[in-house]
Symmetry: D2
Subunit: 347 residues, 4 copies
């Protein structure tokens, strides 16, 4: 390992402090500076990180050659302009999810990163969660069997974003689903409801179809006083429940399959499903901080040129699905197809 990557964080609101702390603790990175518009936040940062500079303008960071990488933790609508400026100034950029608020801007950033040969990485932190990866292995390793469907409930009470809950929470579910299934979404229907301000839903329900035939139903809301983060994967061999709020035992594997019996005549010619009973297994999952792993992966991508796990293709796919979901939502929930990935990339 060479010298640590000189890094600055932009934005010190909700997520920025976590990023700054992890940059400071990660040996592969060195926290050089923070940028925020709000003097009070700069002051808070300065107390916690006296070793780093605190500035009010992005340009002050870009003028400093010791800052090689920018970590963006600003609101989604600012991602495009700030990431673009940082890339143009020759910096590697880690952007908090979502990469951008529309597919066109996301592609523009991706193209620019390719052109200037810098790393542009979206921060889909859940793909670094040990529990999420344990479930991924169960799916990709065949333990679950064919995935019939997945449900997800993600609710909590939180900060209001002008982009609505779809833009804020759906990228989490999508990053996990795409990481698990490794298949593109081919159709999405979304409906939502607004309590506070017309047109900015705080609650949304999504139904997704994947290329391989799996389906998913996603319930997201900002209005639930109790945090809910549960996903259920139902496969032909096993069922897996992943509950992110059950910190000690986040994953449960129901080692019970079913067999399909041929129709009995006495039973009106119907199939019969029967239990193949088995145990429940709660696998041991070594706790690790996903954000720390994400930053290490970013540093590795800069150093080696290898793709990070949370890569641009994933980030673009997520922006594409959210964009179509927003369209479906505006149309009152009508299902809408997504163009094949190849076509989208070309667009």
């Amino acid at each position: 390992m060479g010298d640590p990557l000189g890094t600055a964080v932009v934005g010190y609101g909700y997520w920025g402090p976590n990023l700054a702390r992890n940059v400071a603790e990660c040996p592969e990175l060195e926290l050089r500076a923070l940028c925020d518009l709000d003097p009070a936040r700069l002051e808070m940062f300065a107390q916690r990180h006296p070793e780093a500079r605190a500035v009010g303008e992005l340009e002050q960071l870009l003028a400093d050659p010791a800052i090689e990488a920018i970590v963006l933790a600003t609101p989604p609508q600012t991602h495009h302009a700030l990431a673009r400026r940082a890339l143009e100034a020759g910096r590697h950029v880690l952007v908090e999810k979502p990469l951008a608020t529309c597919l066109e801007q996301a592609h523009e950033l991706a193209d620019l990163a390719r052109e200037v040969e810098r790393v542009l990485m979206p921060g889909h932190t859940f793909v670094y969660s040990p529990a999420v990866n344990a479930v991924r292995e169960l799916i990709q390793g065949g333990v679950v069997g064919d995935v019939h469907f997945i449900t997800s409930s993600r609710m909590n009470l939180g900060k209001y974003h002008s982009g609505g809950v779809l833009c804020d929470l759906a990228p989490h579910d999508l990053s996990i689903l795409l990481h698990w299934l490794e298949e593109p979404v081919v159709e999405v229907a979304a409906s939502g409801s607004s309590v506070l301000r017309e047109g900015i839903p705080e609650t949304a329900f999504l139904t997704l179809a994947f290329a391989g035939g799996s389906t998913a139903n996603v319930q997201i809301s900002w209005l639930a006083p109790r945090k809910v983060r549960q996903m259920i994967v139902v496969g032909s061999q096993r069922m897996v429940v992943y509950d992110d709020t059950a910190s000690d035992e986040p994953v449960r594997i129901y080692d019970r399959g079913m067999d399909v019996l041929p129709p009995e005549p006495a039973n009106f010619g119907e199939h019969q499903l029967i239990y193949r009973t088995g145990d429940v297994v709660i696998p041991r999952i070594e706790p690790q901080e996903p954000l720390r792993l994400e930053l290490e992966d970013f540093a590795r991508a800069v150093r080696t040129g290898e793709e990070p796990r949370s890569n641009l293709a994933l980030g673009l796919e997520i922006v594409a699905v959210v964009e179509v979901a927003q369209a479906s939502l505006r149309e009152g929930g009508t299902p809408m197809g997504l163009a094949p990935l190849a076509d989208r990339a070309a667009a």
Copy 2:
């Protein structure tokens, strides 16, 4: 109370034995006979209920004047013909849910019951569940506040019906939702997927809009090896979680609301939602067998002429919603509106 109501059960498959046992134990009813096509089932019944007759033909029951009421526990596609025959023969009829497999037949039965002045009652057992009624009181009594949305997950491994999971499981969710909200459904979107036989989905996702502005998302499946029966009600004042598999503590009230703060300029003009923290309360719910309460309500309806809690209007509404959901499902999930109740009744 007068003499117990002379009652016969038709159908001794999955649910019939529960009905027969409860009829036998309920003082307001007297179990006089059972009818089933299968001699093995008749034999099983005879051993358990030596005091009652076991016959192979409905007509044998209808010829017996001591049998005043018929309880139908046969497959859904037989409900219309059997209930019609029993009503024509002047009997009161309790029909297992759903009332019929299409709205037209359901209305025909309802009209006939009115004409012959007999009770026709659909058996929506969940509206007699003490836990369901505890949640209803929290909603109708204003404790929950405005209902923003409700989610429901109902999964298990079970018997395959030719009507698909929509016809089999959705009536449960609908009976609970309608009983809780007391508002008609105005729009429904449904998508489903089939693993075993094309066109007969074992998994379905529904999104419902209610007249008062609440929405609901329902996940139902026959393919999940672990039983899931969870509903979450999110209101402006409180959140209620009802888990029917948590037998000791089925209802949890999250006595935490939220307040909406005005936008702060530093916060990009966004609203802020904050927690109003409070306790969780698990109300004491007296265990009672819902099926027993349902049969008592049936006997009371026959005796007094009063509407039972699981009444015809509820049964018709459920058949109507399922019918539109089936149509939406065939159309690939396109949301479809329901005619106002009044118009439907007239139809």
Copy 3:
């Protein structure tokens, strides 16, 4: 299988109705009669079991040659006299736990049964619990390793017995512990406290030493409004938690051992225990009614002469330990040794 065993139940209080129902449903037994002093209870029995006689005197049962076996569900202090009379009259006897309220009377009954060559079986129902037996297999099969210690908490709110909580609840814990470990108790200390009536403790704590070196701590109480029935087995290889109130998942196996590292000098010469991390397994346990299995075992013992699982040796050992525990409790908790089993049998 020959004819079913003609059986009468004596006592129709708390437990008697369960016994009567199971006798009636068990093909190996035939419920012929019930005896109780209370006419109201006889009437209740007669309604539920019209096929059987209901009498007020034990002698009426013993005069009936069709009654071959007596099931005693009367208060503990009556066990000795009633069981003795039934054995003298040549009947097989199943006695609810405990066999008797003192060791001398228990031995007298055991000797009498041997003499008249009739089955005398104490009803330690927990040894027929599928979950208890699943844990027994884990211990006896070596999965748990050496059993270091076992804790047990058994609390609920219940009927007040003049014998105190030791006599009422401790036999349950003892039957399970002896069934699991298959080793005699060599020492017991018991302390207790009384709230309602001096000298009759409603709460007691027991510490037990077993011949093989394992120890156990038992907490029993009638004063706890919430039912607690949890036992923890800590072994050198695995830890098992058995929670009888968690009906779906009563047993959890913590597949985590520990290794003992040699002392490090820097560590003040102390051993270090480290985790050998593993999964948690919740084994599938087929639900079966323990009382039904107990009655079948009784019928089998009568028919074949084989020892039932809940046998006299177990019943005598439990009475012996409870007797010494009562003595320790009277002495304020002083630990007291038990004579070796062989000597006790000879006493």
Copy 4:
């Protein structure tokens, strides 16, 4: 508030890093130095706290007038000598629990602190736990009613101390029990078992009697692979379960009492206990780091001269009870009385 208290931490093993981090983050304290014998640990400290000195000798700290307070996180057997030296040098001292390994040395330290007019505070962290204090309010505020008994299970896998599990874990239970009940222990019985080294038990069971009539049973062990930290308080009005491993919902109040009915003749003259059913309440408990609160309380005690919550009287009582428990354990579990507090203080 004046200047922060210049503070040094002694010992950087298991608990020292937590103390150092909290000292650094607490505005009332200023982390000036660390002392440890092990160069590797000093190096680890230096990396994390570059602003503070790292030294190998206590005398180096005591030579620095800017260090006003010493926080001792060394093994128990060193507490007496190091605390004594620091007090003699005029420093305020916070000692990790237990205050000392025998009562005589604990009293000597207490006397010395009084003489030199410096704060000597034992670090019983649990008395700063928000959940522990929530239960204390329920008990002291009368919600629980008369406390009939308390059970405690504290198990995990951990570091081996030459003092045995009694010295290591029992102080936690004792600090909580004494903080809850505010009554001295009048009798204790302890039994233990050793697997690794004769005479140093890894598992112990304690039975405690309190002056006011409450009793407690405590199960502690180092051998349990799964962490258990559960305490149950059974009172005449309510039952409270405190589970320290259930981080979101550590306290549950069973709002169910019981009533004692007079004996019925038909019931063999026995009392009957019946349920007064009620709800379960899970109170909202604001998460706060107990160690941080403990250090703030220490700083406040130094500044104002007021008694800290974890005060010397508590520390001395705990050492006294552990000492008698060790004696009882050596005697095989014989219950032993404790001298009244007043006499002990005079001893």
